[in-house]
Symmetry: C2
Subunit: 426 residues, 2 copies
């Protein structure tokens, strides 16, 4: 990632105390660090751990619960009733654990989560040994988790106070969306974000309907409303950002904002086509998100890299749009920067955490190989991930999960499948 486009052959990464100590030719590494334990990766490419910049991890329990439906029918007849009946700390813990298993196996080392009961998501991420940005969700209406905006914020901030010193956990303020959060709540969030130096993670300009509704109710489009509320700043993570005009893209770029681009979800819900190449040209920091498994249905950043890179070309009418390296950057350093973790993870640089993913390029479907970056984005899949380390701790070896905690999965998700089946398509 740094310098952009660099591909180093026959190199080694030296790790000490969970951090990258040095990046150097393999021969030099053997000479400089003799006798240290080493892992040989002879048919692999080593990349920074992937950063999932937007998900609702616990919704993995609703993967494929219903598909191919218009957004409002899907929400009103399937997702919301299922959530109202079943969402609890146990649901969020079990669902997030399942999501962590999927994400880890697919080379994702860090995820930005927005869901109810973030303390349960935190517990699951800790069990899985994953880096997580916990969204302190705020939404105007009551849920099983909290009763009103103040209650959401109070619970979220208390969690942050409790977990603030965990090395793999960070926090975002996560107002759900312009159509579910009031001006008063946004105002409070802007103040807190400045005081506590937190990112603000919000669904924004996802559908044409959202934009039209804002114009009808507030007299302005959602982004302009947020701008007036002092939320357009470098700590803004605009999720989806599908329906943006030129001036809005320019505004996001000028203020150093991030967009969490979720191409699969935007297609599946027929939200539309985000103008990613234009965002890149205007200096917007583009990150990639899977969204939740209920609307994707895979928590797979290899898939999102490929879909983003391919789609950007047809949307821009330009086969040079979002080249492979730009997609890989969005899935790594772009995500880390969006989450305010640009100095911690997202690239293989001395001083950063050793969040590393080895991708085995020896399968016939990856032969021949003229350019490993092209293969990572256009040809490889998460199934080619062989090894994953987070802060130097190995979590995946030979494609299999290591943490014993994840072995509880086999029984736990089945309980929820049975409970949720009544909410599936008839």
């Amino acid at each position: 990632m740094e310098p952009a486009g660099a591909v180093l052959e026959d190199h080694a990464v030296a790790v000490r105390d969970g951090r990258i100590e040095a990046l150097l030719p393999a021969d030099e590494a053997r000479a400089r660090y003799p006798g240290l334990p080493q892992t040989d990766l002879d048919s692999h490419v080593l990349i920074p751990g992937l950063v999932n910049a937007h998900t609702h991890a616990a919704m993995s329990l609703m993967r494929g619960l219903s598909d191919d439906l218009p957004l409002m029918r899907w929400l009103q007849e399937h997702i919301w009733p299922a959530e109202a009946k079943h969402v609890s700390p146990q649901f969020v813990r079990d669902g997030t654990l399942l999501a962590c298993a999927e994400m880890l196996r697919g080379g994702i080392t860090c995820f930005n989560d927005m869901y109810f009961f973030p303390e349960a998501a935190a517990e699951a991420a800790a069990l899985a040994g994953m880096r997580v940005a916990l969204g302190l969700i705020v939404i105007e209406f009551p849920s099983n988790y909290a009763s009103d905006p103040e209650d959401y914020l109070r619970k979220g901030l208390a969690l942050r106070d409790r977990l603030g010193d965990r090395p793999l956990a960070s926090f975002c303020l996560a107002p759900h969306a312009p159509y579910t959060v009031s001006d008063a709540s946004f105002h409070r969030i802007a103040t807190l974000a400045a005081e506590l130096d937190l990112q603000v993670h919000v669904h924004l300009h996802e559908t044409a309907e959202e934009v039209a509704r804002s114009v009808a109710e507030h007299g302005v489009r959602p982004l302009e409303r947020l701008r007036r509320l002092n939320l357009v700043a470098p700590n803004l993570i605009a999720v989806h950002a599908v329906h943006l005009d030129d001036a809005e893209i320019e505004l996001l770029g000028r203020h150093g904002c991030s967009v969490a681009h979720c191409p699969s979800s935007n297609l599946k819900l027929a939200s539309g086509f985000a103008r990613v190449q234009s965002m890149l040209e205007h200096g917007v920091n583009v990150a990639l998100g899977t969204d939740g498994a209920a609307s994707n249905n895979r928590l797979d950043l290899f898939q999102e890299m490929r879909t983003a890179a391919l789609l950007a070309k047809a949307v821009a009418g330009n086969a040079e749009a979002m080249p492979a390296h730009a997609a890989l950057r969005a899935a790594t350093l772009g995500g880390a920067s969006a989450l305010g973790l640009g100095s911690v993870t997202g690239s293989i640089e001395p001083g950063k955490a050793a969040d590393l993913v080895a991708v085995d390029l020896s399968a016939p479907e990856l032969a021949p190989c003229y350019d490993p970056v092209s293969h990572l984005v256009y040809a490889a899949g998460r199934e080619h991930v062989s090894d994953v380390w987070i802060s130097g701790e190995r979590r995946v070896q030979g494609g299999a999960l290591l943490p014993e905690a994840l072995s509880v999965l086999d029984t736990r998700w089945r309980i929820w499948q049975n409970a949720l089946e009544g909410h599936a398509d008839a």
Copy 2:
């Protein structure tokens, strides 16, 4: 596939002499066929073998040779010089063998090929034990393979005469595209197609430039030109079909034509967005193709199913467009029908060939499962294919290729990689 949308639980497929003898509840099968060898698939879904309705298999050797370039620069500076220098019967045999390895592991049992030296592709498909529709390519200009349109046709028809009785091989006439084939050649092809009862496989309306050029040179759009030459008929396989107006979609539907939709390739080359939902509504037989590995870069129909189903929704602005079952149908029976093999393969029905694929749904990334068809399209990947049979012969077992012939791959593709490296991006 037949009846549409049927998902049968705890069923068995009985196979005799390479054909499906019966489809019945597993208990009944054990009672009716006691003592016969059986394969238990207890966490799997069994689907018809996938049919790749458009590829240039040998181009697997040019996978990722160059990417992120405008179409004409990509062709003129990389692909065509590499082809002119290297394409030979050995190149086609080795490249097709590599493609077969990839396709078989990904659940593809039949492919429709368009490339030079189809006799070499036939040899590779026979070694791999795959069903193949061999395109008898016709192009106006000379190549390493043939000198002029008559020479292409003569060589193709001679191959058909020689291989006509091979059980897994069939043939299509394959005029390359409207901009590379003359009226005289199209006229001859229309006559031959009628005489010999052959499908006609042609790139059509792939780019806006192709359509504009036809209007400038022939006074009509390419499809209208083909209609006047008597080529718009049930045996037409229109590949790509990106730029079609309402009347053209209606015309294809009315004449029972097929479209080989190649969504990844259409995005990667920035060709545009095919109107697949409109095609389905107008009765066009929609099949799916990977295109060649140089412009995709994976020969993966799971990926094409997913991309087709997701993209159709955003293109139509309707989350109900191309539901999961329609995508699965396009990748199986749609493809078989396009190739004139609708009575041979593409569904699990008594009398058809036992072309079968088992997909293991037990991985954490596929849990939970409310609807196996949703999972096949939206969540699973080719890596979940565990077993593949073609005409009852097992070709893949536990995710690994069986035919010993494919073990030659490891050395052969490396030779070509070295030879082709000079044509890669600088």
